[in-house]
Symmetry: C2
């Protein structure tokens, strides 16, 4: 049974507040265990990495076996269904097209005093891409992480993927090849994150680590943050569907379940001004649930976190959607553009009845790595800028220094920083 | 005595590697203590915040006294030297001018299939600005953090600043007023970070926290990361000066000391191809040190971490500077632009003899919050984008869904996500 809220209830405000505060993940106390693994790899390199891999993935390797060879990748690609490879290529081309437009421009300009200012963007030299292993293989995520890095101009895109009992998903290797990954290592968990951050004899260190992982991976990323850059710590995924009486209940139910089937902690929320639609969607969800191969996961998510919020007028949904700050926001109304224009917090917006979120997961072209768990209030989906950095540039001649210098000296002295003031004053022949 | 390296030494490579790996900060084990403070404020709000403030700042307050009133700020401004206020205004206008150029553009476009794509930037609604208190007052840092937020369009810019024994630096309050800070609270430490992240009855929560602080502040930011956004964890500051025989030894010495006087853990590095210049700079540093009010700090930094690296040819300095990835890079050579064009990793570049780094600290207009401790390899200085987030937009009609849908269904099925495939298939009348 989903959670049901009605904005007409007298205690709706407090109910909605409790709904927002609801935790979908139990924080396990794994930091000490994670730190031990990370410290061990930092100290002992390959030896520690190999021991951890033997322990956690039940895979005994020599250092020479860590890297997945080009021949292995080629062989894996041959095992894949050709239609799926074609779909991955289609996705790759669209993702690349979209992300090329995100390449930032350098700037260089001269202000009225003649001071030259500006900045220059450059790619990070080496990034690590964490890819989860085991049963669930998500080649689309490999593309979504690797392609922005390649578009940015990153030279080394280093993928790590655990191979429990020695198994690697062929489609994941195929996606790595299509996405331009330059090195692949069959390691995972906190030990893989540590290897990327500190480097080992076999794996040269990278400067930034991106990609989703389990709680140990997330904890390891948090620990190495600062030494290397990291992307957001990914939480459970969610969708908000805002619909009016134009919505098709079966389609909406399918969209809610597409979110729910990801993970028992995923969350699917319908906000509507139409009570009849709400009831029909709920019935359609119940009917469709029974036919899903991942019924158990989807049902757990829908029963624990699914929600239907009835509003009196669609305008009320704007504030609710902004407060939820959903990773994915579908707008299935008579005028989706008008509604979208009022929205401030969302990872991605899907406009109209013919834009199911699944299109964005695979082939829309925009990135499917999006801020979860309300973090769209302060962060963005993965993009080209995440793989670049900006260097600012400042240039004065003697005249410009004469114009700027006195104020700089005043502030340096006010902050008690004599040498700052002197570094200007010496050049101006004054103290 | 600074560290002396010479690229002509047979073991230069290993010496430089050790130099890069040198730690400038001792990591204190304060995480448990920090977590206790953060958890307490999260659980008990104002009561915990007031207790921590009484304990750490020796300041007993009621909740109603947490906020610094507009009248207090006005009174503080009147205490400030008018020349310093004028210099702050000059700095503010220049910082605003520079950062306005960083405002990103939205994009919306239609691809060859008719799919509408794009993204939209919006400001974060509320950000917290941590400002260190006590003896060192850095009004310039208040401007550097607040102005990009205001330019981005952030509505609530909430400053927290500890007032040990009840003392607040008037210039810090003046800078807050000039920079457009909207709320100020006299709290600091991990408890202030927790209050900003979780909110209390008095302090409404923010979505992102920026600004430098001590080890407790840094640890608290790391703990709340994910619940809110944070900026980089700031480490000790550094400058690299690359100079040839055109360099003025006194000016270069002053620049090295301007870095060293910040902090005993700061680092000042000269890289030059001119042995005579190196010797003269070293003598000038020794002479100037004696005259600094912060001699003790600057000397500790220079003796422990200061370095002079002699190279055979200036070209060698490019790779060394990139490996150091300095927060600040001054290029004092015959052709600074040519050298700068080859540099990849630096927070900010200062071109030519008349651009001392202190200009960038105060009145250049570019931001002085820059990536430290080699993090310029993967991150940028603070800017307008740090206070905004991007929402991607996707819109298909029936024809576009027909064009994209089959590939999305193929990939959904390949990933074992039936409901993903169905959400597309239902709309296309196929499973």
């Amino acid at each position: 049974m989903p959670i049901r809220l009605d904005s007409a209830s007298t205690d709706f405000a407090s109910q909605f507040k409790a709904f927002l505060a609801m935790k979908r993940e139990v924080a396990a106390d794994i930091e000490a265990a994670t730190r031990a693994i990370v410290d061990d790899v930092a100290a002992r390199g390959d030896a520690a990495l190999l021991e951890a891999t033997a322990k956690f993935d039940r895979l005994k390797l020599e250092a020479s076996g860590l890297r997945v060879s080009a021949a292995e990748v080629d062989a894996a690609v041959k095992l894949c269904d050709p239609d799926t490879i074609d779909a991955l290529k289609f996705a790759r081309d669209r993702i690349e097209f979209f992300h090329r437009r995100q390449l930032p421009k350098d700037d260089r300009f001269t202000d009225p005093l003649g001071v030259e200012l500006g900045w220059r963007w450059s790619a990070i030299e080496a990034v690590g891409l964490y890819v989860p292993g085991g049963t669930a293989a998500y080649p689309s995520s490999v593309l979504m992480n690797a392609i922005p890095a390649k578009v940015a101009g990153v030279e080394r895109v280093v993928m790590v993927v655990p191979s429990p009992d020695g198994k690697l998903a062929p489609l994941v290797l195929a996606a790595a090849q299509l996405g331009g990954v330059t090195e692949i290592y069959r390691v995972g968990g906190a030990q893989a994150v540590a290897a990327l951050a500190y480097g080992t004899a076999t794996i040269a260190p990278v400067s930034k680590i991106v990609g989703p992982g389990n709680a140990y991976v997330a904890a390891a990323k948090r620990l190495v943050f600062g030494r290397v850059g990291i992307d957001m710590i990914a939480g459970p995924s969610e969708v908000v569907v805002v619909a009016d009486n134009t919505g098709n209940p079966d389609w909406i139910a399918a969209d809610l379940l597409a979110q729910a089937e990801h993970d028992a902690n995923a969350q699917s929320i319908l906000i509507t001004d139409d009570a009849a639609l709400a009831a029909e969607v709920e019935r359609a969800v119940a009917a469709q649930l029974k036919t899903l191969s991942r019924e158990k996961i989807a049902r757990a998510s829908w029963d624990a976190f699914g929600a239907i919020i009835k509003v009196a007028r669609l305008d009320e949904a704007v504030g609710l959607a902004d407060a939820i700050a959903a990773e994915h926001l579908e707008i299935i109304t008579a005028d989706p553009e008008a509604f979208a224009a009022k929205i401030r917090n969302a990872g991605a917006i899907f406009l109209g009845a013919h834009t199911p979120e699944a299109i964005g997961d695979y082939v829309g072209g925009s990135n499917h790595v999006l801020p979860t768990a309300r973090s769209a209030r302060f962060s963005s989906g993965l993009g080209v800028l995440d793989f670049m950095k900006r260097t600012s540039i400042l240039k004065c001649g003697p005249e410009q220094l004469a114009a700027l210098g006195p104020a700089a000296m005043t502030l340096g002295k006010a902050e008690g920083l004599d040498a700052h003031a002197r570094s200007v004053g010496l050049r101006l022949n004054r103290r």
